[in-house]
Symmetry: C2
């Protein structure tokens, strides 16, 4: 049976498992593990995974796809742990918010006979952990796919299929580009949101401000509730890109400040608001497509894409196992006969 | 029948009408008008209002409460138009985002025999107009109430009752304080959101950024879709407060930037994220109360509060009308008799 291993069954790993279960792929076996005691057991009882593994190494053994959904700070150790257990032709993917380090660690630690295809679902929630996991978390969301240099075409297609199977929109992109772009649309918003909340909540007027805060303030500060470990990991692993966009944001705020302050430039200010509203309307109503890779594959074909790879991989492995068994049997027979 | 006039039946005025209808106050008559052709008619057909008035002056005539829900740029003209039509003891309220100008215009233009009690519902949507109106728009939202110097205690209680009747949480506050606080929790978020969207959408990488933008980016840029006229009005009418908070925000971003850039201060940075998350949790789970005025009155008593005022007002007017009719009849009788 084709097997997928999910290492780290938190919000993302748990949602991935649930979304795969929802896709009802009969022949697919999901193995999961988590360093937090009891989590894998709960995931199995909930029906998110089929089997618990005691650690990453055993989870990876025999898996066609290994999806590592731990915090990025544990990723290097997980790669080290799974490397000896990975089958030839297996695919390793991850879900970390930045891709430079995962790609480097994969090149350094994973065997050449596997394909590393990085991944980053652009979806999340404030609540971390398996309890917050949701089969619909990835529905319609972009999921960046960053293949390593050595990844096979089939492996890239398989990850694309996996991503589409769980309802997300695969976006194949270079790892360095990914890190620079998400700094703008994900990491800068995180810092902007945290700064806004901190400014208000650390102000002496906070009790009054909080009383008046409406849905606008809530939405704008939502990302301040991100898991602090994740926020900090993002700052650590994508520092240069984040600082670049943060500087540009401060510059943009200064520019708008100049327009607001200048009575002679009110028409210009008004036009800024008009343009922002119009452009955002376009953004919302015509979701962008990024070349053929940006197209969302139909679910059945996506599923077939993933399965055909996994099946193919399974057959390759099975053939090898049979070959090895036959070899061993031949050797045994030879030994029985004696030299 | 006690009458409330709603002048301007857009998103806010329309939602106010629908929410009052939802409260099923049998004896309440809602009169509405809008400068946009056909809007009042549609509102009547939808059952949001009972009667159309052809303009603000006629709408205000005979109303116990006049709620002006036009853009702030039309407020002064509306005050001028309704002033001669207002009954003695009537209440005028508004829904503008800033309160300094409405309070000044009310003092300047409204007759002394009415009470001006400013209002500002901290609720909204990107879509403007009657079509976006929603009876549940104010549900659980703060609604600032800024009484003028001359407003009677009964008038303040009546507006409080009106606000609670439509499901909002009344927050009585001084007008100048209001403008300073909403600059922090409403107007700064608007500018921060617009700046973030403009920065990304004006960038050369926008097609790629848009492809990767997830729910975080969408939420953080939601306020960039605010009606441009409203955004500009806010900047015009609350400039000093907004600039003050904008400067503090830029300062806060610089401070966080410093922590992100400095390898020696990573623990400090991590603690910032921890504190923001923890404080926001408290903010979300324990909505603030601002003294007795912040308490949400029970709906029945709130409704009674509003109605008892309106009924009282109605009786006062009715008594005067009867007195006048009697006077006229007496005069007629005298004239018939001849001098």
């Amino acid at each position: 049976m084709p097997r997928i291993a999910i290492i780290g069954i938190g919000l993302i790993g748990g949602s991935l498992a649930l979304a795969l279960k929802r896709a009802q792929i009969e022949s697919l076996e999901i193995v999961g593990c988590d360093t937090e005691r009891g989590v894998a057991g709960r995931a199995r009882k909930q029906g998110a995974i089929d089997h618990e593994a005691r650690d990453a190494t055993s989870a990876a053994r025999g898996a066609a796809i290994v999806a590592v959904a731990t915090p990025i700070s544990q990723l290097r150790d997980v790669f080290e742990a799974i490397a000896p257990a990975l089958e030839e032709g297996a695919i390793v993917t991850d879900t970390a918010s930045t891709k430079r380090d995962p790609l480097r660690w994969a090149a350094e630690l994973l065997p050449e006979h596997v394909s590393f295809v990085g991944g980053h679902p652009m979806a999340g929630k404030e609540q971390p952990g398996l309890d917050a996991a949701d089969a619909a978390l990835f529905e319609g969301r972009p999921w960046a796919i960053t293949p390593s240099m050595g990844a096979s075409e089939g492996a890239i297609r398989a990850v694309e299929g996996l991503v589409a199977t769980v309802g997300a929109r695969p976006v194949i992109i270079d790892g360095a580009e990914h890190d620079s772009y998400v700094a703008a649309v994900s990491h800068l918003p995180l810092v902007a949101s945290t700064a806004l909340f901190t400014l208000a909540s650390q102000s002496q007027a906070w009790p009054d401000l909080a009383t008046l805060a409406g849905p606008g303030f809530r939405d704008l500060t939502r990302l301040a509730s991100t898991d602090p470990g994740l926020s900090h990991d993002i700052c650590l692993t994508n520092r240069e890109n984040l600082l670049h966009w943060l500087d540009r944001y401060i510059e943009e705020l200064r520019r708008l400040r100049g327009l607001i302050a200048d009575e002679g430039r009110q028409e210009e200010l008004y036009k800024e608001f008009v343009r922002a509203q119009a452009d955002r309307d376009v953004f919302l109503t015509k979701p962008p497509e990024r070349g053929p890779a940006g197209e969302r594959p139909e679910t059945p074909s996506a599923r077939e894409q993933m399965l055909s790879f996994m099946m193919g991989d399974y057959l390759v492995r099975r053939t090898k196992e049979i070959d090895r068994m036959l070899d061993e049997r031949e050797r045994d027979l030879r030994e029985q006969k004696g030299p």
